[in-house]
Symmetry: C2
Subunit: 136 residues, 2 copies
């Protein structure tokens, strides 16, 4: 699998609001996956979670993650990222989740009374498929 | 997270050709995710891979997986499965991949000259979201 930086053609697609799933590892070794919104910013992947999510504990114990993003109009075309969590920060003013929500829905995030955390995933390797298979 | 058997309302949705991503763990501890077709049959999840896939080695070393399936018409509605690989078998006559391909495309699988392997994932726990959040 190639290493970053991502080619422009891959970054351009990842900038679309694609369906995505993030995978982490439970401390007992079980892989755990859940659909998520994401943003690709400054070469990193941003995912944002309710502060009560178990996934936060998984990421603190094992700060590694994988994101698979799928073109909703062409399921064969997808980009998978292997990475590690370089930074986790409280999203104190909901600035990050609002940015993510606007990207997907055009509106700020609806839930305003729950604390949230942003995880920034540094990309270690990536892989693309479908119409992006030959992009290097 | 609830344990199986899946409620009928969950099983009925999982029987649709939803977009899905399967996650495994690399022997070095890195979670690895990739979009996949799947079938839910007899209470297990079937995923089928080209025999050359690295994912097969991951599953043999750590026979645990997680599948997240998303309703393509309603992204908030999804089902995530935590499970373990109870059985891996050569798909010698492409019977399994043809069944999976017909489920998604209506046609047998196009590639006929590559060996394939079926992994049967036993469901340990599950979780649903969106319009299925309250199904128990």
């Amino acid at each position: 699998m190639p290493e970053p930086p991502l080619p422009a053609a891959i970054a351009d697609e990842l900038a679309q609001p694609w369906q995505a799933t993030i995978s982490t590892v439970h401390p007992d070794g079980q892989p755990v996956s859940v659909p998520t919104w994401y943003l690709h910013e400054d070469g990193r992947i941003l995912v944002n979670m309710d502060a009560g999510r178990k996934r936060l504990g998984h990421l603190r114990a094992t700060p590694r993650g994988s994101l698979s993003a799928i073109d909703p109009d062409d399921w064969f075309t997808h980009i998978s990222i292997l990475g590690h969590v370089g930074e986790m920060v409280e999203d104190t003013d909901l600035r990050d989740i609002d940015r993510v929500a606007r990207h997907y829905t055009g509106k700020p995030y609806a839930v305003r009374d729950r604390p949230r955390v942003s995880a920034w995933v540094d990309i270690d390797r990536w892989h693309a498929w479908g119409r992006l298979t030959d992009v290097r």
